[in-house]
Amino acid sequence: MTDTSMFGRILSSNIRECVVGYRINESMIPPFGSMVRIPVSHAQQPEIYGLVTDIQIEEDGFLRQLATNDQVSEEVMLDARVNRNVPVVLRILFIGYLENGNISHLLPPCPPLTLDNIYKCTNAEITAFTSFGNFGYIRHILKVTNVPPGELLAAHISQAAKAQFADNHFGWTESAINEVIYLMRDNYADLLAILGAIGDADISLDGEVEEQE
């Protein structure tokens, strides 16, 4: 991991989640459900892992004026999108942390500090975190309230499955779905909604996202 994958800074945080201000162009926006990390900024703080649960693009006062114009030139449109006064805001759900080289699927002991940097996870980091333990972090995803948990799970499993498959972990997806079923089988309606979302993501149980026709 290099600093080039850093994409924003923490605006606010608590034990469960944080809000991140995004400062670079939209091609670098980490997609919904992708895994991010907030590295150690001081000795007492562990490196926190999270999932992007929401991406919010808010308007500034100038956009309202542009929107009323009949025609907006390409240059103006690009300028308004890239050189924004108000940052793109991402909501990050914490799913675990790394402390002294040990992964934990518990919530972090303390929230990250404001203006801490936030980074996208590499495949190796995704594989290491999602392979650890017995999918304990999925319980945090299933309790998310700001988006449908099925949608978030489908996005996460899709990303993680690709990383696991690249690392030759072929049974991971099946195990992850089994864990979801185990945790949710008391709730028939929600489980079917989650599995429906996973099904719509066309995730191959071999770990690859299937080609859309």
Binding site: N178, I181, R185, Y188, L191, L195, G196, G199
Partner: protein, 552 residues
């Protein structure tokens, strides 16, 4: 030895209701009646699968057909966790296995009684359940004293199941099954095992002439050999009637009865068969009083019709007997007077004595009824013969116990169509019910072979130790076979759902626990295994090589 695969785990249950097990393998791999083992805290529990139920975590998982709404793989994963089979196990035996080697509590000097005993406690929750291995089956069923006879194999994995021949002959036993279920072949195999084990002499009342020299299998049209053909050194054939033959074969000797063998009680036993009246006992009593116990039958036969001296009417008047009753009885007994196997006096030694002598000396005898196939013949001859045997064995036993003589040879009387002699009306009159109830202590037991066990008197059925039953269709027959046994409600369905051929349920005293098995085949291989090498002549060996009668 590789550890057996677990098929599920205990999720609940009680001693009364049995154990509930959640299957972790597909339901189709387990059958009702499967022999399973549960290991828990140094105890092994042996049980039978008595029911399988389809269950779901939530009813909607089974009621909603979601196939097509998501991928087959995800559907499979969902079904694997939400739909399952619950298995009911009837725990029957438990065995103390003690701590395993490596366990801190393991004591190499500790003496652990490993004999299986009736179940008295339960395994813990989530104890693993597996199908019994060959070792488990052997632990439970193989007698320690080498008196076991392999009667068949477990249905799932084909592990041999033994029956304890010692126990089989200690109490009366029964072989039941609807017609065509292979009773007579099974009986032949058990008798062969019994004769081979030298545990007892056997007297077979062979009503249909199939045990001595065999018969043609109705299913395969191939000849199945008889016991006399294969075990001629130990089995004697006897045919009813002078110079009679058994299916074209010359018997070792024939059975002819003397008039003096017939007692009034033998006639009373034939009340229904001869349609006798209520006055018969009084008339018979008067006959015995007039002519004596040994001469009454012959003397009565020699009375004449009409009214003169030596006539029936004359005798009746002189003995205060109702004339019509005496004439009526005479007419009814004419069926007996005409029987060729009844003679006034035998020229040589009594055939009955010969049979008894053979049996006393450990030989087995198969009495074939040849052309005398009516119920009258069967009832009369079996009752007379058994009465004499009973008297002799009682005498020998009393002598043995009081004077320290030779212990009588244990005797098993195999009785086909047993309901004819042991039905509610007849049971009190024949010797057979007495044998079933009391003769165990005199070393005589019955082996009842029947297709209608419900017709056999309850008191006799309750005395049966070992019961071996093939498929039965009638509820009353099923109830009769299971009468007096614990867990009969669980076993009822098992008995009703046996395969019509080759599958039998073993129950009762001769087996440590009930178990459905696939019975051994009565074929060349059976005889090869049953006959010890020293008894196999070169001719026999040649015959085995040539014989092909595999599919009975």
């Amino acid at each position: 030895m590789t550890p057996a695969e677990n098929i599920g785990f205990v999720i609940g249950g009680s001693l009364k209701e049995g154990l509930f097990v959640r299957l972790t393998v597909p339901a189709e791999r387990i059958q009702e009646g499967a022999f399973v083992v549960i290991e828990s805290n140094g105890l092994k529990f042996y049980g039978l699968v008595v029911n399988l139920s389809l269950k779901s975590y939530d009813p909607r998982y089974s009621q909603d057909l979601i196939t097509g709404r998501m991928s087959d793989k995800i559907t499979t994963l969902l079904h694997n966790q939400t739909l399952f089979t619950e298995m009911e196990v009837l725990p029957v035996l438990m065995q103390n296995t003690g701590p395993e080697l490596g366990d801190p509590n393991y004591d190499p000097n500790a003496i652990v009684d490993r004999s299986p005993i009736p179940v008295k406690t339960l395994p813990i929750h989530q104890a693993p359940v597996r199908l019994a291995t060959e070792f488990d089956v052997s632990e439970v069923f193989k007698p320690k004293e080498k008196n076991g006879f392999v009667i068949g194999t477990t249905r799932e994995q084909g592990h041999p199941v033994h029956i304890d021949m010692d126990k089989l002959i200690q109490r009366s036993s029964g072989i039941f099954g609807a017609t065509g279920t292979g009773k007579s072949y099974l009986t032949r195999m058990i008798l062969a095992g019994l004769i081979q084990s030298k545990q007892a002499a056997v007297l077979v009342f062979d009503m249909h002439n199939e045990y001595a020299y065999g018969d043609i299998s109705p299913d395969t049209d191939i000849k199945a050999p008889g016991l006399c053909e294969k075990m001629k050194k130990r089995v004697k054939s006897c045919a009813l009637g002078a110079s009679a033959k058994i299916a074209g074969n010359q018997p070792d000797f024939d059975l002819v009865l003397e008039y003096s063998d017939i007692l009034p009680s033998d006639i009373e036993m034939l009340t229904r068969e001869l349609n006798l009246r209520e006055t018969t006992p009084a008339t018979l009593s008067a006959l015995v009083q007039s002519f004596g116990l040994n001469k009454w039958f012959e003397s009565f036969k020699n009375l004449t019709m009409g009214e003169g001296e030596g006539s029936i009417i004359d005798w009746a008047r002189n003995n205060n007997v109702n004339e019509a009753a005496a004439l009526g009885l005479y007419n009814k007994l004419e069926r007996l007077f005409r029987l060729n196997y009844l003679v006034p006096k035998l020229a040589g030694p009594s055939s009955i004595v010969k049979i008894i002598d053979y049996l006393k000396n450990g030989y087995s005898v198969i009495l074939s009824f040849g052309e005398y196939e009516t119920d009258l013949d069967y009832l009369l001859v079996t009752n007379i013969l058994t009465r004499k045997i009973r008297e002799e064995w009682e005498r020998m036993t009393n002598e043995y116990r009081n004077q320290g003589g030779v212990k009588p040879t244990p005797l098993v009387i195999a009785l086909e169509e047993a309901h004819k002699l042991l039905n509610r009306e007849m049971a009190g009159q024949t010797t057979f019910s007495t044998i079933a109830r009391e003769m165990r202590k005199y070393f005589v037991t019955l082996l009842i072979i029947d297709q209608r066990p419900s017709q056999i008197y309850d008191e006799v059925m309750s005395q049966l130790g070992t019961r071996i039953s093939g498929w039965l269709g009638d509820d009353e027959d099923i109830a009769a076979v299971l009468s007096g046994l614990s867990g009969r409600d669980s076993l009822r369905g098992m008995l009703a759902r046996l395969q019509p051929k080759e599958e039998v349920l073993l129950l009762g005293y001769g087996v440590p626990m009930p178990i459905p098995i696939r019975s051994r085949r009565y074929d060349a291989q059976f005889w090869q295994e049953i006959l010890s090498e020293d008894e196999l002549s070169e001719t026999d060996r040649q015959k085995f090589r040539e014989m092909v009668f595999d599919d009975f």
